[in-house]
Structure formats: C-alpha cells, structure tokens
C-alpha cells in the first residue's frame, strides 16, 4: 500500500527533483499546497508553465529573456561600446545592482572546466567574436568568477579577443569590502596587491 495518495506522491516526487530539496522538504511543500487555496496552487502551476514556455535565450547576448533581444540589448540608452562578459545570466543581476555599469553583456554559459567536460567548444564564444567584428565595441570587461576555472576562462577569452584590437579588462580581484586584512589568505592578498591603483 502506498504511503500517500497517488497525486500527492507524484507531487512529492516532482518537488524532490529540485536542487536542495529532500523527502521531508518535498512533503512539507506538498502539504502546504494542499492546505492552501486552489488559486494559490494554480498560480504556482501557471507561473512555472509561463516561465518554461516564455523564457528563452537572447539571440545577441544569451541572457535569459521573455523578449528577443533582451531589455539590455534592445535599450537605446545603454553604452554599446562596452561589453561585460559573464559566466551565467544570474551574474548580470549582481552587476546591475551596482547601478554604475551601463554597457551591454555577453553570457558564456559557463566556464572552462575540463573535469565537467566543458571546453572552449561548449562556451558561447562565437557570438561574442561576431559582435566584436560587426559592432562598435571598444572594450570587453571579463567578469568571470575569481576561481581557477573563471581565471582560465578569462585568459582564454582575452587571448581570443586581443588580436581583434579591442581593449580587454578584468574585474578587480582581492579583499572584499568590510572584511579584515588579517584573515585574507596569501593568494587573495597577492591579487589585491597586484590590482592596486593610484589614489
């Protein structure tokens, strides 16, 4: 005899497929939806379906969007001479929160990671090269993560772009604001020293 009625068991199974959700959490979520009004459950189902059906990749920058091109690529007010290269679409949100950057973006869809089977062919580099050849781009800011994979990707991309005569810069790496130098490890401190600037 099954522990739960078939529809609930199926719902729990679906929740369990989501990252970070185990059996107990899946049960809690399923029972929360059962207790909630039907409109709440239907609204959730609708938003999942809409997100899945309407969201796609921007044909220019590979950002996720509901309109192609995305709002950054379509905007007339953004600076078209600068492109910031990021690993994933959610990295754009972190940069947009600064409200200082007004250029365009290019999403690579990951970083070079041989152990994960991600090589240069798996990254969306061809579109970036096309944009550099055809557009008024003067500078590329590489904003990949400051990890081994991110650094390798940054160096690879810069080697690819420099022959095109475009300025290539890397975001600063070092001590985070609000932390204490005492707790910085050697590599973080070294990067901070390398990236020092005139005052």
């Amino acid at each position: 005899m099954p522990d739960f009625a078939e529809p609930i068991a199926r719902l729990i199974d679906q929740f369990k497929r989501l990252p970070g959700i185990g059996q107990k959490t899946a049960q809690r979520l399923a029972f929360h939806l059962l207790r909630a009004g039907p409109e709440e459950a239907i609204a959730l189902a609708d938003s999942i379906r809409d997100a899945k059906l309407k969201i796609r990749e921007c044909s220019v920058c590979n950002n996720i969007t509901d309109a192609d091109p995305c709002l950054y690529c379509a905007s007339a007010t953004r600076n078209r001479t600068v492109i910031c290269v990021v690993e994933e679409p959610h990295n754009i949100i972190a940069i947009e929160r600064t409200r200082q950057y007004n250029g365009l973006y290019h999403v690579l869809g990951g970083a070079l990671s041989p152990l994960e089977g991600v090589g240069p062919d798996q990254l969306k580099l061809r579109g970036l090269i096309e944009r550099l050849k055809t557009g008024p781009v003067q500078e590329i800011i590489i904003a990949t993560n400051p990890t081994a994979e991110g650094e390798a990707t940054a160096v690879y991309v810069s080697k690819l772009i420099k022959p095109l005569g475009v300025r290539v810069t890397r975001i600063g790496v070092g001590i985070p604001v609000g932390s204490d130098l005492e707790y910085a490890d050697e590599i973080t401190m070294l990067k901070a020293m390398e990236g020092r600037r005139d005052l």
Partner: protein
C-alpha cells in the same frame, strides 16, 4: 495495580542506575574530534546555497570528500584555499553515520592557482585530478600518491613542458597501483625485449612472437624512458632530451592501462587530445 507499581519501580531503578553511571563514568558522548592533515584539493562542486563539496587527498587519511560551509560567499573564511590543487593544512571532523566530512578550516601552504590560468595547464591538472580520483578508493591512505601529485604540480608550476610531467605521472600512478608489467621481458615466454619490437596490453609486455593481433606496439625509446622513470627523479629527467613521440607513447600506454583497470574512459584525456597546443 501491583504490576504497574513493579513497572514504575523498575523504570525508577533503571533511571537511577543511569544517573549514577553518568556521574561516575561521564556522559555518553558522540564526540567528533577535529583532525588535522595536509591535503591537496582535487576538485570542488557548488553545493546548496553557498557551500562547496570538496574532494581532496589527505596525506594521512587518503582521498576524502567533505563539505565546506559558506565557501562560496564573498567573505568566506576559506578564501582561495579550496581551488584545485591547493596544497593546504586542513582541519576537519567526521561523524560515523555521515559519508562526508565537515571541513572546519584550511590554511594555504602552496597554491597552484596562477599556473592554472593557462587552459592547457588547467587541462593537465584536471587529468591528474581525474585519474587520482578514479584510482584511489575513499579513505585509502596513499602517501606516495600524495607526494607524486606534489612533484607533478611543482614541476608544472616551475614551467616544465607538460608532456613529460604527465607521462611521469601516468607511469607512477600505474606503478603505485600495482599494474605495471615487467618492462624487460615478455610476459608470456619470458624472452628479453630490450632490443625487440614489443607490444603492451593489460596483461603485460609481449615480444614479437607472442604479440596478438590488435595489440599496440611500444617503441624502444618509450620503453627506455619508462625504465628510467622507474629509477630517476622527474627533475633529472627534465634535464635530458627525450623524443616527443617516446614521451607520448609512455603516457598513452600508461593511460590505456589506467582506463582498462578503472573500466571507463577518462573524460579529460579526450579533451587533452583535442587541445593542439602545449599538451602534445
């Protein structure tokens, strides 16, 4: 009624005995002593909201996996210590019922992060990491493998051309695994193969008479290099000049042996083959 009283008395006596035992012996603890060991980080994956699942080779405990809480946060106390091939002093504890250890703290001893900025070098490190993970079981103490990884990483960091350290690594990983055939005689008939055209397979080295169809030959230069690898340090071999074909031959045959023993193809090996630059 009498039964109930007897039951209450029994529980009372049991409880009193337990209290006496705790007072005299001490509370039953599930203590988790923090262990300290030198370790090399093999790879790490994002886990949950901001954690990392880290695979590492401990000098004293062997290959292990652990969780570093909050390691992906900007102000993480782990900093760059969990990057691939970081040589660290690590403090961790494990619970008997859990497969993963919990990583408390890491102190950087030596970093190989700068060397990995080059894609070809990062591919080489990835190959070393994948092979190590594949051949070593968890909690299997492997101090010689630990020293081998350090030697290889330091040679690459010092700027050595990649093929020789990789071939040396592949040779010694096979030797430490106990899969190395005799390099001077035929495995079937015992004939001397010092000056003969030999072939190598999982079951050993074969002279021309015993070679079966389809077995891949190994050059005499490659065999000589392999014999030298068995007795000489990498830094000494790097000063000598070896033909690229011989180095590639040793590496390919050794990686073939590794793949035959782990019964799967190495993912990074194919990627290194596709990389036309420094890896060939």
């Amino acid at each position: 009624m009498r039964g109930s009283l007897r039951c209450d008395n029994y529980i009372h006596l049991r409880f009193a005995a337990r209290v006496r035992w705790v007072l005299t012996v001490g509370a039953p603890t599930t203590s988790m002593p923090v262990r300290e060991s030198e370790a090399l980080i093999l790879r790490s994956f994002p886990l949950g909201e901001a954690d990392r699942l880290v695979s590492f080779l401990s000098r004293s405990e062997g290959r292990m996996r652990g969780v570093a809480s909050g390691a992906r946060r900007t102000k993480s106390r782990f900093g760059s210590t969990l990057e691939p091939f970081s040589y660290v002093r690590m403090w961790f504890y494990e619970r008997q019922t859990r497969e993963l250890v919990r990583i408390n703290q890491c102190e950087l001893i030596e970093s190989f992060l700068e060397a990995q900025r080059d894609y070809a070098v990062s591919l080489a490190f990835a190959l070393v990491s994948e092979v190590t993970e594949a051949v070593l079981g968890e909690h299997e103490v492997a101090e010689p493998n630990f020293r081998l990884l350090l030697v290889i990483a330091r040679a690459i960091k010092a700027g050595a051309k990649l093929p020789l350290p990789l071939a040396y690594f592949a040779f010694w990983i096979v030797r430490l695994g106990g899969w190395m055939p005799a390099l001077d005689r035929c495995s079937r008939c015992g004939a001397d193969v010092h000056n003969a055209r030999a072939s190598m397979a999982r079951s050993g080295l074969f002279c021309p008479n015993c070679t079966l169809p389809g077995q891949r030959t190994i050059s005499q230069e490659a065999l000589q290099l392999a014999r030298r690898m068995a007795s000489e340090k990498l830094e000494r071999l790097m000063k000598a000049n070896f033909a690229t074909a011989a180095i590639d031959d040793v590496k390919d045959h050794m990686l073939n042996l590794v793949e035959q023993h782990i019964e799967k193809k190495l993912q990074t090996r194919k990627m290194t083959a596709d990389e036309p630059g420094q890896l060939k």
